[in-house]
Symmetry: C2
């Protein structure tokens, strides 16, 4: 008997029929003698419907109130799934984030989980219940409803698995695993049987959209065995996320091509090239709770330097406004922005021991006439920012250049 | 400066536009220096949408899970109204029933309020916030979400007014007060400037649908000054619900004609006419948390008697099932039911000191050929059960017979 946490996304619970399918899958695992905690998202489309409704009232909805509203999406799904499980003769019980309780900080719309009280869930599991928990949401120390931000249901799943010391956390999604890149852009993309945590971290953060980055961080930190599976296929082992030490001997150089079109770039031009300038620029941005992704500072020329970074497109306007506000104080020549960009990355643990990956990547893009606007590298990935109109082309040519269409 | 609790029903918050109108009205009171707590229902249609969705999964939805789902309706409205208030430059903050906290018993879908913690609301009011609270919902001692049943938002409003010792509780609805009967059935119906608590209690319980019965009970118990107003008219004093001692000198005999088509009648025929039989019949019904309205036991004949009562149509099938189950134990000849009935009542404090009201009522119905199936009386009302097809006719002829079309 194992304790399994299963997470189903919005598409998997998008209709009463699909909710019944999820219930059937859960029942199958329960029949095998496992204890099951299910984490669900809002029915697909529901979160967007609620946000649109809020925007009819307030162009920029108050974050606290937006969380009160948006959290109702999962609250509906947990009840429906619990009913569907009961209809199959199982004992089931739903919990909102506040009821569990998933304690978070107070950063509305992008809260972080601080602690989880697993006592109630444990008692219910021992009493034979399937426990159904609302993903994406929590409660702060003052009892305010919070949400974890888009994709936060994955994080809820992994965090519950960590708190309950579950044997496995299964993320069911509309794809059957992690691919070398998005098959909608490159039909020759292949499913990876396993991928290391580090690679997955890069793949998720770079926008392969299979798992939310924080869920992977959580899984790594608490050593949660994480598996990505399709909720629409009966069989299939999905992709297992492995710790590096247990990864296979013959590591391919590159595991996949990730991309992200949700970012915008901001450049602060001609700031004095002196200690503390990075903090002076990013401090106010961080204070506004805006997450910054790539950060690039060029070598200074004539005492001044240019500073560039990327933020989520939703935060673009706000970040520009903040920087325009402090431009005088920074003694910056200009604050420029562009939200028509895309980021493309090659990811692979194997590139550590191989030279030439970067040059191969840059040459491939150059051959297609794709201009590189920004470059950022880590041990296991190389990311470039390009004009968003070249995104699909870049993904396809890189997938081919690194021979990812071959069996892995 | 007064502390006012305002309650707005589903129609009053049925669209973003209407929510803005509510916000404007609240802002007007706030500008006059009052402290305002607003209680809102779900947007009209939302509760029914959610129940229909639940029924796609479970024909008879699990009550605990149904409450988890249905309570999301008001949760959306509190957020939207708070946003609308902020958009007008006011400070506003929303609370779900669980957050306030509105402590209830655990009778899911028909819970009763046990206590309200007014501390947070008081602190917010003192800090200049408009406090927006979800009606209709609460939380039990174990942290489960509960709902108070249909119309429960009125009860929330009055209960909050009582807990906060508010100066007035204003119930905004789609009518501008309490009428002598439903104007949709009798266009000559007149608005009452005031009505006593006792009459209101009878009017509400008998289905005039302006206020939920429990809210009136609460108001009477805690001496809450209650006013019914239209949310669609700028001016107007609505109808004030008075305590009897302060009611006007010249009491009209009859205040209004109430009716209810939501009930069904059940008759247990030929049970032994012995002590304890009423309890043996109604005990199992009460245990199933089914509310019983009229109860009539005829005089026994030859050692047996017939026992009749009415329940909500939603509980009809369940109640019949329960009684069929105990029919043998009761030694009853038969259990019969009819859900095609309506109840019509004449209500008035004045009838206490006037004879002939009952005979006037029965004669009027007889003249129209309307058969009376059951009769039940109290100090200030007389109710009859008739075939539901005669409902409108009965209301109109009684309204005329008691001269209610005249100015009051």
């Amino acid at each position: 008997m194992a304790l399994i946490v299963q997470k189903y996304g919005g598409t998997s619970v998008g209709s009463p029929e699909r909710i019944r399918n999820v219930a059937q899958r859960v029942a199958k695992f329960k029949a095998q003698g496992h204890q099951i905690v299910v984490v669900v998202s809002a029915m697909s489309g529901e979160t967007n419907r609620l946000i649109a409704l809020a925007k009819e009232i307030q162009a920029k909805p108050d974050p606290r109130e937006l969380d009160v509203m948006v959290s109702t999406g999962e609250q509906v799904t947990i009840a429906l799934l619990s009913m569907a499980l009961m209809e199959m003769g199982l004992k089931a019980k739903s919990y909102t984030g506040a009821q569990v309780r998933v304690l978070t900080d107070s950063a509305f719309t992008k809260a972080r989980i601080l602690a989880i009280d697993e006592e109630k869930m444990r008692a219910d599991l021992d009493a034979g219940f399937v426990v159904v928990v609302a993903g994406f949401q929590g409660v702060d120390g003052d009892g305010n409803i919070t949400t974890l931000g888009r994709g936060g249901s994955d994080t809820t799943g992994v965090a519950l698995a960590a708190a309950l010391k579950a044997d496995e956390c299964q993320i069911y999604t509309d794809v059957d695993g992690v691919y070398t890149t998005d098959p909608r852009i490159e039909p020759k993309a292949k499913r990876l049987k396993s991928i290391t945590f580090e690679e997955m971290l890069e793949m998720a953060s770079l926008g392969s959209k299979v798992l939310q980055i924080r869920s992977v961080e959580f899984a790594g930190k608490y050593k949660v065995k994480l598996r990505v599976l399709s909720s629409f296929e009966e069989e299939g082992e999905g992709t297992l996320i492995t710790f590096e030490e247990e990864s296979k001997m013959e590591q391919p150089i590159i595991s996949g091509i990730a991309f992200n079109r949700d970012e915008a770039k901001i450049t602060v031009r001609g700031v004095p090239d002196k200690p503390g300038i990075a903090y002076q620029i990013l401090g106010p941005v961080a204070d506004a709770n805006i997450e910054v992704d790539m950060i690039i500072q060029n070598v200074g020329v004539e005492g001044t330097t240019d500073f560039s970074f990327t933020v989520h497109k939703n935060d673009f306007e706000k970040a520009i406004g903040i920087l325009k506000g402090v431009q005088g104080h920074l003694e910056a020549k200009d604050v420029l922005g562009d939200d028509r960009i895309a980021k493309v990355s090659v990811v692979g643990v194997g590139m550590r021991s191989h030279v030439g990956v970067a040059s191969q990547m840059f040459r491939t893009l150059a051959e297609e006439g794709i201009n590189i606007q920004m470059i950022s590298t880590s041990e296991i990935k190389i990311s470039v920012v390009i004009d968003e109109k070249y995104l699909e082309l870049a993904v396809r040519v890189l997938h081919k250049a690194f021979h990812l269409e071959q069996e892995v």
